[in-house]
Amino acid sequence: MLSFVQPNIDYHALAPELVLVGALLLLLLVDLVFEDRARWATSSLAGLGLLAALIPIITLAVNGHDRSMFGGAYVVDNFALVMKAVFLLAGYVVVLMSTDYIGEGDYYEGEYYFMLLSSLFGMLIMASARDLISIFIALETLSIPAYLLAGWRKRDLKGNEASLKYYLLGVFASAVMLYGMSLIFGVTGSTVLTDIRDGLGSGESVPIITVGILFVVIGFAFKVSAVPFHTWAPDTYEGAPTPITAFLSVASKAAGFVALLELVFIAFEGHEEVWKPLFWILAAITMTVGNLIALRQTNVVRMLAYSSVAQAGYMLAPFAIAGDLSGGNVGAIKAVVTYLIIYAAMNLGAFAVVIAVARKTRSAELSSFGGLFEYAPGLAVLLAAFVFALAGIPPLGGWYAKLAILNVLIDASTPWATVLAVVVAVNSVIALFYYASVAREMLMRPVADGDRTPVTIPASLAASIGLCAVSTIAIGVAPNLIARFSDLAHFVS
């Protein structure tokens, strides 16, 4: 009979998660005990908790051992560490962006940060999960708080729509994905990714494996808002509080990509004939449709929503060329991680400036940005820098992200990969048009309503903008800064 064996727990490896859980419990307690008197402290606590969780990540990185627990279901390797650091830093920037936004609005504050940290906790697990069940648990841990956060503007109809849409489609996607996972488990008899890889073997796929893989991939295609599974994203992004929009479009999307990388490049590695064409199509239509619809947007948040759909398309592209790279699939993983890191800096920055401007204009309509340069030149220049970074114009960070993607596509040197590279190139030209329209509005159009009162920017928001701006520009000038980290980001398997 099976007897319970105490699993070997490596507390150092779990330290980031433990610190984060400690922080979020503390947050809950403080909010419970001190109620309104401690409202001001909650955001600081959340921010400090996130930074504290970074410390064990650094010690683990210095230590340098790959650690594996629970029969290979939970792994702390370089990939996990890099992604955890990205999640924590992105989370920290979101906390900075939220501080005044949430503090000044009529929002629950303690719970907000509790939810945010819970979601981040799920992401940390995701970065280490190497098992279908841990992936699923991570996904739900990060998603359920996010559904609630999306509807945090609770008296706003659009907020309710945002939350409900996100929730319903998210649950639907989870169900599809779980069904796929059950099929995979049925075939291989294991939930650990490496065992699945061995169990699935390689060569001709039987229909049940094909269906299983398709369902799992499609489940995560919802999460990363790939076309045609993107329909929730624009409405959710528009209705959610803007810091949460930034969080969803960066951290939550990155978590989806982390899961895809783990599943596709570990578990399904032997069956690329199933998922390679799928990813090719997903990537091509996601970037094209996202960009074309973004062209028509008149609201900056919706535009950034569609832009983030398109950006997901670029990140899906390296999946479509697995097996064709001179240095093995690890090149594709690195390209996606590089893109994720740079995308996080520039997209968070763009949202942070939108939040700052909306403090004055109370609107995210493109027209409300008219003449911003006249009364807030700094913000206008920074937002221009962020959108042109997203467009991939050197010397701003985005160019290196695009280059990383194109690099692997050209390296693959199959006709299909080359065609996809051309699709990426053409798309980045299309995208320039709407990114530039934001800059045009701010710098070349008259002031909206003639209202030139300056924009006041609270310190924490300014800090978040500054962090993003410095990283965006530094990465653009010296890509080595992050290339070194993304270069480490590969699995042990």
């Binding site: 001179s326 030149p377 042109f388 114009i393 050197p394 010397p395 160019w399 290196y400 280059l403 990383a404 194109l406 690099n407 050209i410 390296d411 040197s413 080359t418 590279a421 051309v422 190139a425 053409v426 980045s428 030209v429 320039l432 048009f433 530039a436 800059a439 045009r440 710098l443 070349m444 010296a478 890509p479 080595n480 290339a483 070194r484 993304s486 270069d487």
Partner: protein
């Protein structure tokens, strides 16, 4: 001292303007004079380094890369901070520094609406970084970054300080060039993977040809062609140019004409042809064909223009056609002519745009029909316009001649293996182009400068050329004459480098 120059000279020349721009960021917007001084000083410093380089350049070995630096930059993709200059890049680097200084001087009291010298000059400085950097880069990725660095400042310069249709013109310029460079970067990456796992230009010149199959090379060259031809611009990709030039502020037009267009032709000479000579061979007849179409089309376009600036813009299309024809012959004569043509066109057309700007300042219109009698009202301005028109149409003794005439001549005997009949046809067509050029330029000069001032301006007091204009223009006018009389000054620098790079094709 020389060690310092060898190690840091080029880096300083490229990045000193950036330092100026950073300093300007911390100075409040209101202190306009300080901004002007900072901008002028940083361009002058960069120019001084340029002069210093000019004096220390080893002219006997102008085919060798000098003042080179090769440091690590992005290790992960094997791209390095490799810079250096030889006889091909030196003239263009100096031209770029020279023009920027003059543009800053001209700007002294010529800030277009909405004024804001801080932003305007800072953008000019960033532009200079991009232009200088492009001419010194010896690594494809570095080249790409500098090549693209000019886009944002020029976009804003046209879009913020431009004319009525500025927003349309600005985005058109941006989209066209970005489309080209998106395809160009794909070709760069293909060169890396197929050519020998390096982005280093001198190394690629050594190894790429042997490693890449002819068919692949044709495709790669196609991508490079799109990137550079749109920038030149060659017919049929030229449509962004008249709009950009017409709408850009004077300074923007000058920089665009004098330097930015040269980034494209320079790309052909520095990258596309030396790295993939065989593919260039196959492409050359087509490039030559487009070049002569551009010559004729540009000239006919000029004849149809009613706006002075638009006319000069179309004349650029024609002149760059001569440059491209010289390049398409793939002969040392043709390439030398092309480089000479690039410098000459930079000086002459830059001057013409300066004059157009000053005319616009005085008459508030550039419609040729409404102008006239410039020689009566502002004789000096009028004669300078006449002088530049003569230079532009290729009058012997002025710089324009040495760009145009040898380019036509070189088409008589293109590189071995290419159809002589075809290129001689091109030669004839191009010669017709010079006649047309004389036609449109003289006609333009006649309509704007001769006769009596039109009634609407008859009572106006028109200020003749004034201080900053003299300061900015004299060096350019002198350059046009000196290069016209002593073409050897430039050809002696370029020829050894060209011979070394192109004699093997």
């Amino acid at each position: 001292m020389n060690d310092f120059l060898n190690d840091w000279g080029l880096t300083l020349a490229v990045f000193l303007p950036l330092l100026g721009a950073v300093v300007m960021m911390v100075i409040p917007r209101g202190e306009e004079d300080t901004h002007k001084i900072v901008a002028l000083v940083s361009t002058l410093l960069s120019g001084a380094v340029g002069v210093w380089l000019l004096f220390n350049f080893d002219y006997d070995h102008s085919h060798k890369l000098q003042f080179a630096r090769n440091d690590s930059w992005i290790d992960v993709i094997n791209s390095r901070y490799h810079i250096g200059i030889d006889g091909i890049s030196l003239p263009l680097l100096v031209l770029s520094m020279f023009i920027t200084i003059l543009v800053v001087i001209y700007s002294w009291n010529h800030f277009p609406e909405p004024h804001n010298p801080k932003a305007f000059l800072a953008l000019t400085l960033v532009l200079e970084v991009g232009m200088n950097g492009t001419f010194v880069a010896q690594d494809l990725i570095l080249f790409f970054v500098f090549f693209e660095l000019v886009l944002l400042p020029m976009y804003f310069m046209i879009g913020v300080w431009g004319g009525e249709q500025r927003q349309y013109a600005a985005i058109k310029f941006f989209l066209f060039t970005l489309f080209g460079s998106a395809l160009m970067i794909l070709s760069f990456l293909a060169l890396y993977f197929k050519g020998g796992q390096t982005f280093d230009m001198p190394q690629l010149i050594q190894v790429a040809q042997a490693n890449i199959s002819h068919n692949t090379a044709l495709w790669i060259f196609g991508g490079l062609f799109m990137g550079f031809a749109i920038k030149v611009p060659m017919f049929p990709f030229h449509t962004w140019l008249p709009d950009a030039h017409t709408q850009a502020p004077t300074q923007g037009s000058v920089i665009l004409a004098a330097i930015l267009l040269k980034l494209g032709t320079y790309g052909f000479i520095r990258i596309a042809i030396p790295i993939l000579p065989e593919a260039a061979h196959t492409w050359a007849p087509w490039i030559g064909g487009l070049a002569v179409v551009g010559i004729i089309y540009g000239a006919l376009g000029c004849l149809a223009q009613t706006d002075l600036k638009r006319l000069i813009a179309f004349s650029s299309v024609a002149h760059m056609g001569f440059v491209m024809l010289g390049i398409a012959t793939l002969t040392p004569v043709g390439i030398n002519a092309a480089i000479f043509g690039m410098v000459a066109h930079g000086l002459i057309t830059g001057m013409l745009f300066f004059i157009a700007g000053s005319v616009k300042d005085r008459f508030h219109t550039l419609e040729i029909r409404r102008l006239g009698g410039l020689l009566v009202q502002a004789p000096r301005l009028g004669w300078i316009l006449g002088f530049c028109a003569m230079a532009s149409l290729g009058l012997p003794g002025l710089a324009g001649f040495w760009g145009e005439f040898p380019a036509i001549l070189s088409a008589y005997s293109p590189a071995a293996g290419m159809s002589e009949a075809l290129f001689r046809t091109y030669m004839v067509i191009a010669s017709v182009g010079t006649v047309l050029a004389a036609g449109y330029l003289l006609w333009m000069f006649q309509r704007t400068a001769f006769g009596n001032p039109p009634e609407e301006f008859a009572d106006h007091h028109i200020h003749d050329v004034h201080g900053p204009e003299w300061l900015a223009w004299t060096p350019m006018l002198a350059g046009i004459v000196v290069l016209g009389v002593l073409p050897g000054l430039l050809l002696n620098i370029t020829n050894p480098a060209v011979m070394a790079a192109f004699s093997r094709i």
